[in-house]
């Protein structure tokens, strides 16, 4: 993590109690609170879980036990472009695991991991609900249907181009600012 990122994380931690305030201190708030924390940080940092444990007055071990039980919670930051490969039934039948493998090979990381530059992370998900388009992968929020290994290269090129366009736009706008 670079210094800028750990700075923002420290700031986020500072503002956490304020976000916790609307939640009651009953145990049944635990999962909604963890969801809020994850929205806040995009993952669950250890320091945040300690604050949650204190807020609800329950052992940290219990908070950790609950958080690690559910698929939704992650303990490392996701990539800027999270890639989700659908491995629901229809996608499996149409070769979703081949798509997953190709992403893994291309990025050199395994499912559940994030690239060193924190650009990409790969996750397997169950049914995103567009079975007629199987196999399906999501990059960020965008759904890509009828995936094929040969389309993956194109996807990355597109992300690269979009990034460069955004940077160019930023540069163009800067003199005005």
């Amino acid at each position: 993590m670079n210094p800028a990122e750990s700075d923002t994380e420290a700031q986020l931690l500072k503002s956490l109690p304020e976000h916790l305030a609307p939640f009651g201190t009953e145990r049944s708030n635990l999962i909604p609170i963890l969801q809020m924390v994850q929205k806040h940080f995009s993952y669950l940092p250890a320091a945040a879980m300690e604050i949650v444990a204190r807020h609800l007055d329950i052992p940290l071990a219990e908070v950790y036990g609950v958080a690690t039980f559910y698929n939704q919670f992650r303990f490392t930051p996701p990539g800027r472009h999270p890639i989700k490969v659908c491995l629901g039934t229809a996608c499996h039948v149409k070769g979703g695991d081949i798509i997953l493998e190709n992403f893994e090979r291309k990025l050199g990381i395994r499912d559940g991991e994030t690239t060193a530059d924190r650009e990409f992370s790969i996750e397997r998900v169950a049914c995103v609900g567009c079975c007629a388009l199987a196999p399906v992968a999501l990059v960020g929020e965008t759904v890509h249907g009828n995936m094929a290994p040969s389309k993956i290269e194109g996807l990355f090129t597109r992300i690269q181009v979009e990034k460069e366009m955004a940077q160019r736009k930023k540069r163009e706008n800067e003199p005005d600012a």
Binding site: L30, I31, P32, Y70, G88, T89, A90, V143
Partner: protein, 659 residues
């Protein structure tokens, strides 16, 4: 109660409905064309947002006045994005268009809305009978369905309660408020409604149990923690018509005497969460939910709880644990939640489809409902049919329809010339049935008898090109990962089942594995703590029973008859057919496994090949030179030349991927 005719629930509802109809008329009943766009997750995934934007843009460009009406999903996944254009001035009936891309949208605005030409080549069908164009009701996919739960899906705007009210919504709640709780329970019992969450427990009995409980603070919960990796009807219902479920939930609360309700929706369904939350707020604002419902003394607080993604939380007791803030691990029943549930209070948990079945039952009467379906399984069933079928999607059929009718008549059968091999019903808890079962009627008991189950309503149709062993492995992989880990059988037993299946699918199966799978499967079924564990071996046990020959082929011959198991298959290039100099297969290979031989024909390096099949797709049909075989040993070995042209060139320049 001293209710004058002016302040009965029904008269209050009538006033609310009049206002809703007025507002709707002000917006809708113009002569301007109306464009209905399906915007549930599936539609959005297929690009419906782009389509909507294209319509808006094109309408603005052409200066046409038209109303864009966003609706949910009607279950026709194969046709997404779906658009219905109602253009009364053109003289045509409302028309159903399928796969409306942004380009098609612009074309339709220009030629149909502006020019009056509906472009018949793009029409799927009219939505009503008429003399001009064939109606979709002539297609079995439409006319063989019986819509009770999904009746209003795809017609109403899920984000606008007025639409639901104008379609008669909340009429059942008003009627239920005039009934005694006992009358409601009796009506549900008489309808024969059984829980749509999987096991088919009689809903009336569940309600009666909770209604009889004397403890305070009863709770009703809508279980929308849909976890089957291939089923999505609960999400579709919430995204397309949330009020029907909410109305059912309120009626349930009235019947059992609950003042608190929870809608438990998966956090992975953000759109459903948003729509349900909004629907609750809208209904509360009109006095249809919340405090003093329709002027009576009934109160109901509804909260939305987002499930954090654990399949096991679909199990009642695990779901309760997770709301309470614990690890979602099932606990032993009895006591049943109806006696001792959330925070120890009597709790009724019903699936979305069960609750959405309640308003029509109250509205049209238990006899009407009981007449649909079979004697022991009344009503309708919703299946998400995927896999090798022509028309995949959500289908609502009366119980008792046979598998053959559903798969072949309604969903169009297996595409191409491939024959039917198997159908997997009920997702990870269900089973895999062979052709011999095609005439089995779809109802709770017949499916259970065959070894499958209604389960979540997921249905995967498999052609000859698929492998029941691999599908069993797929589901076991799912349940094994989703096991909560509490009890020995499910935690360790499913791991071993999966390990054995994996061994078989990579060609390392042993003769004794079949016996081991069978025994272990039976033990897990009988010994597990909760429903997840008890049903987890079903995919294995049924495929062992009905597809023993497939297991034998994998184990003895290292052959996968459906050629799905990658380790047992190989691709090779038929040199007789390969064209000299065409590089289509070389270019598309993601691992550089395809190479050029000394005769400039192609070969595949089996050590590098990942069997993605891209080369087979890429090979021009006039050559059709790529072959797939199983067992893998059938592929002829073609030696890679020591220094082929391409590699010689590559080695001359430094490799670009090197770190």
């Amino acid at each position: 109660m001293n209710q004058t005719p002016e302040n009965t629930p029904e008269s209050r509802l009538a006033a609310i409905r009049r206002r809703a109809e007025d507002q709707r008329r002000a917006r809708m009943d113009t002569d301007a064309p109306k464009i209905h766009i399906g915007l549930a997750t599936c539609g959005i995934a297929s690009g419906a947002l782009d389509t909507k934007q294209a319509f808006e843009q094109a309408l603005a460009e052409q200066g046409i006045e038209a109303l864009i009406h966003t609706v949910g999903c009607a279950g026709h996944c194969y046709a997404e994005p779906v658009v219905i254009i109602d253009h009364p001035q053109s003289g045509f009936p409302p028309i159903f268009y399928h796969q409306v891309t942004a380009g098609k949208a612009k074309m339709l605005v220009k030629l149909f809305l502006a020019g009056g030409d509906p472009r018949l080549e793009h029409v799927y069908g009219a939505t009503v009978e008429n003399d001009l164009i064939p109606s979709v009701m002539e297609f079995p996919r439409f006319n063989r369905e019986k819509r009770v739960v999904m009746e209003k899906c795809g017609r109403v705007d899920p984000e606008d309660i007025d639409d639901y009210l104008a379609e008669g919504g909340y009429g059942a709640l008003a009627r239920a408020l005039a009934m005694t709780p006992e009358e409601i329970v009796a009506a549900i019992e008489a309808s024969g409604l059984r829980g749509r969450g999987g096991a088919g427990f009689p809903t009336g009995r569940k309600w009666r149990l909770a209604a009889a409980a004397t403890a305070e603070g009863k709770v009703v919960i809508c279980n929308a923690d849909e976890g089957d990796p291939g089923a999505y009807m609960d999400r579709t219902l919430l995204e397309s018509n949330p009020h029907q479920m909410l109305e059912g939930l309120a009626i349930c609360a009235r019947a059992v005497g609950a003042r608190q309700a929870v809608v438990y929706v998966r956090a992975e369904y953000p759109l459903a969460v948003r729509i349900v939350t909004r629907a609750i707020a809208q209904a509360e604002a009109l006095g249809l939910l919340g405090q003093g419902i329709l002027g009576t003394d009934m109160n109901l607080d509804i909260e939305v709880f987002q499930g954090s993604g654990a399949f096991v939380c679909g199990e009642e007791t695990a779901l309760i644990r997770s709301i309470e803030g614990y690890r979602g691990m099932p606990v032993h029943r009895p006591p049943y939640p109806a006696q001792k549930g959330l925070h120890g209070r009597p709790t009724v948990i019903n699936n979305v489809k069960t609750l959405a079945s309640v308003p029509p039952i109250i509205e049209k009467g238990p006899d009407w409902y009981a007449a649909i379906g079979t004697e022991k399984s009344s009503g309708t069933a919703i299946f998400s049919v995927v896999g090798d079928v022509v028309h995949p999607g959500l289908v609502e059929i009366p119980m008792g329809v046979t598998l053959r009718e559903l798969i072949f008549d309604i969903c169009g059968g297996v595409p191409g010339r491939k024959g039917f091999k198997a159908v997997q019903i009920g997702g990870p808890s269900g089973g895999c049935l062979s052709e011999a079962f095609l005439d089995t009627p779809i109802d709770f008991d017949s499916l259970t008898e065959a070894g499958a189950m209604m389960g979540s309503g997921g249905m995967v149709v498999m052609s000859q090109d698929s492998c029941p062993v691999d599908v069993a492995r797929f589901f076991l992989d799912f349940t094994q990962k989703e096991s909560c880990g509490k009890c020995t059988f499910c935690r360790i037993g499913t791991w071993h089942l999966l390990e054995i299946l994996e061994r078989i699918t990579v060609g390392e199966g042993r003769e004794e594995d079949v016996e081991l799978l069978q025994q272990l499967g039976e033990d897990i079924k009988d010994g597990s703590l909760c429903g997840l564990g008890k049903t987890a071996p079903n995919p294995v046990l049924t495929s062992l029973k009905y597809f023993a020959d497939e297991y034998a082929a994998h184990i003895r011959e290292k052959r996968c008859p459906g050629m799905m198991c990658r380790a047992l298959t190989a691709y090779y290039i038929d040199l007789e057919k390969c064209a000299r100099g065409c590089d289509a297969c070389v270019g598309c290979c993601p691992t550089d496994a395809v190479f050029t031989t000394s005769t400039r024909k192609k070969g595949i390096d089996q050590a590098l090949c990942v069997k993605c099949g891209e080369c087979m797709v890429a090979c021009p049909p006039e050559y059709d030179a790529v072959r797939k075989v199983s067992p893998a040993s059938l592929a002829p070995i073609i030696e890679r030349p020591v220094k082929p042209v391409a590699e010689a060139e590559a080695s001359a320049t430094p490799a670009k991927d090197a770190p």
